[in-house]
């Protein structure tokens, strides 16, 4: 995540608003990408380091659709999301499902393998450089809000992200599908006993989780640059959001993602030379205090 110095005003108020704005936008992207990981890890107990791969694929798909075919952003987003959902669903059925119940080491190694293969394929197809996002004119440039200049596209990002998150919460809390997921997270044996087809549930949930990640990756292409090292470069952030937020939860990661987005942005603004050290020191302390995250059992 890069913040140009020129985007920062001199006054304190401007600084606070800017940090809040960039932090929230960043946090939302982190949340969209990581929430699926939290739910699938809580559901299947699978240590999936490769979740970032799906965010990256979403980014590549959307950028390619827009740059090559001239498709609009709002047409490219759902298409990219759909394509990656299918990829996620198929991978779950063919590969991931073979490793449920295997040791943590096997799952770590397998998902590392997936990361490396995806990095190689993406590099062979799109080359080693980061993919530039070409936004339509009306989304380029800055908007003036209360005397502070902020990039227009980030407003779209925040608004769109918020809409998706609300929809997600409604699905999770209010629909039968959501209830099934919650039941299976709580007690898989019981869920099976009352007739939930957990195998199918896993696949569908995994697909949706990867689809959300793809959406996050595509929407946030100018926040987290779309390049072949993406899944490795940002892995720490995704894993931290899930670990701090708590497995199987959709609210915990929201708090975690927003906090990390805000804290990381603030740190980089106030102490650019210290980078992300503080935030990781804080995460370190937090996980020692609550190893199962802020929503998990102590």
């Amino acid at each position: 995540m890069e913040i140009k110095k020129s985007e920062w005003g001199g006054e304190t108020m401007t600084a606070i608003v800017t940090v809040l704005f960039f932090g929230v936008a960043y946090g939302m992207i982190l949340y969209l990408i990581s929430v699926g990981l939290s739910v699938t890890m809580g559901l299947m107990g699978f240590v999936n380091l490769a979740h970032g791969v799906f965010a990256m694929l979403g980014g590549y798909a959307a950028v390619t659709l827009m740059n090559q075919t001239g498709m609009s952003l709002f047409a490219a987003l759902p298409l990219a999301c759909l394509a990656v959902t299918v990829v996620g669903f198929v991978l779950e059925r063919t590969l991931y499902s073979r490793l449920y119940g295997r040791s943590e080491l096997d799952q770590v190694l397998f998902s590392m393998g997936l990361i490396l293969i995806s990095m190689a394929l993406v590099r062979l197809i799109w080359g080693p450089m980061a993919q530039p996002v070409q936004l339509p004119d009306y989304l380029k440039g800055q908007s003036l809000v209360g005397g502070i200049e902020l990039p227009t596209y980030r407003f779209v990002l925040v608004a769109f992200g918020a809409a998706v998150i609300v929809a997600l919460w409604v699905i999770f809390e209010r629909t039968l599908f959501g209830a099934r997921i919650r039941a299976a997270v709580d007690n898989r044996g019981m869920a099976q006993a009352i007739g939930i087809d957990t195998g199918r549930l896993f696949a569908v949930t995994f697909g949706l989780g990867t689809g959300l990640a793809a959406l996050g990756g595509a929407l946030g292409a100018d926040v987290l640059a779309i390049a072949p090292n993406y899944p490795l470069h940002y892995i720490v952030y995704f894993m931290v959001v899930v670990a701090v937020g708590g497995l199987g939860s959709i609210r915990g990661p929201f708090i975690a993602a927003l906090s990390i987005g805000l804290a990381d942005t603030a740190c980089k603004y106030l102490l650019p030379e210290m980078g992300s050290v503080f935030i990781f020191a804080f995460v370190f302390a937090l996980l020692l205090w609550r190893p199962n995250g802020i929503t998990g059992k102590r």
Binding site: L99, M119, A120, F280, V283
Partner: protein
């Protein structure tokens, strides 16, 4: 201890090792000694392998024997490398003293981070191991006046080993020095994994809840293994600095942590010789595939991992063992 001297006990192979395996092991070590004479051009590469084998062996103590999966083992390797490098530039460039300091520094970092991290397990431990290594990497990057930042520590030179053997440009001294350290570390690790302590580590790997229920102080036992592994990783890092006269920021990276894990798994973890098989295979494959395009090498590594986890659990050594057992059964029939 019995009436045999400690030195004799350390050198004796553990009980129950078959004669063929003993002979194989001996010839492997002897063959290594002949590398600088037989293929002098490959001595630097062989040295690099020896250093990585030591690093992978240290990881085996955690992953293979204790069941601790860490994603940040490079933190300890890098600590050893930077300690040796910085000391050489500022204080003393005696190889043995700086190597010992590198080990001690890594052991200390292992003690501090381990005593925190080992209170957790599962996802929290994985993330903490990532975060700890990430922090060290960032710190080394920032403290560029001491560490050289992104450029690494250049031109680190060391005085002759024991005051006699110069580190020559052909790399012979470096190779024999690394090999001697690896041999000593190997004897030590072999002793340890065959001791009651080493058995208790396997017990923890198999079923930590049961170990607790037979009165084992799991946390202390794990921490001891972690510190020991850290010291050996630190030694490997120090050797790397001394024999290449360079410390790269990469020596603290997530990539290196991943690489060493892959090397170990490729050979087979929990078997002592896994590192010896995995590292050369890994480095030959890297040499072969990375030449044209780094993407080929990523693909190679990724496929190795997938195939290993899906079809060949136990690595190459596990595969050999299974083949031999099947052949043996067939022969008897």
């Amino acid at each position: 201890m019995t009436d045999r001297s400690t030195a004799a006990i350390l050198l004796l192979p553990p009980d129950g090792v078959s004669g063929t395996r003993k002979a194989l092991s001996m010839s492997l070590w002897l063959a290594a000694l002949a590398i600088p004479t037989l293929v002098p051009g490959y001595t630097p590469l062989a040295n690099q392998m020896v250093v990585m084998i030591l690093f992978a062996l240290s990881l085996d103590l955690l992953v293979g024997f204790t069941g601790i999966v860490t994603l940040g083992h490079a933190a300890l390797f890098g600590t050893g490398a930077y300690t040796a490098g910085i000391l050489a530039l500022r204080l003393t460039n005696d190889p043995l003293i700086t190597a010992l300091c590198g080990m001690a520094a890594a052991a200390l970092v292992g003690l501090v981070t381990g005593s925190c991290m080992l209170r957790t397990k599962g996802l929290a431990f994985l993330v903490l191991s990532l975060a700890a290594a990430f922090m060290l990497h960032e710190l080394a990057n920032m403290a560029s006046s001491v560490t050289g930042g992104d450029d690494g520590l250049q031109g680190v030179s060391f005085s002759p080993l024991l005051g006699v053997f110069e580190f020559d440009f052909r790399g012979h001294t470096a190779f024999y020095y690394s090999l001697a350290c690896l041999f000593a570390a190997f004897l030590l690790v072999r002793r340890v994994v065959n001791s009651p302590f080493g058995w208790s580590l396997r017990g923890i790997r198999e079923n930590d809840g049961r170990m607790r229920a037979i009165g084992c102080p799991i946390y202390a036992r794990r921490l001891a293994a972690y510190v020991m592994s850290s010291a050996l990783a630190g030694l490997a890092g120090a050797l790397q600095a001394q024999t290449t006269q360079f410390v790269a920021l990469n020596s603290l990276s997530l990539e290196l942590s991943g690489d060493v894990l892959i090397m170990l798994i490729l050979g087979g973890s929990g078997r002592l010789y896994g590192a010896f098989v995995g590292v050369p295979l890994f480095m030959f494959a890297q040499d072969l595939l990375a030449k044209e395009d780094p993407a080929n090498w990523y693909l190679g590594q990724g496929l190795i991992l997938m195939v290993m986890t899906l079809f060949v659990p136990g690595g190459v050594l596990g595969l050999v063992e299974r083949l031999r057992r099947n052949l043996g059964r067939g022969g008897r029939r």
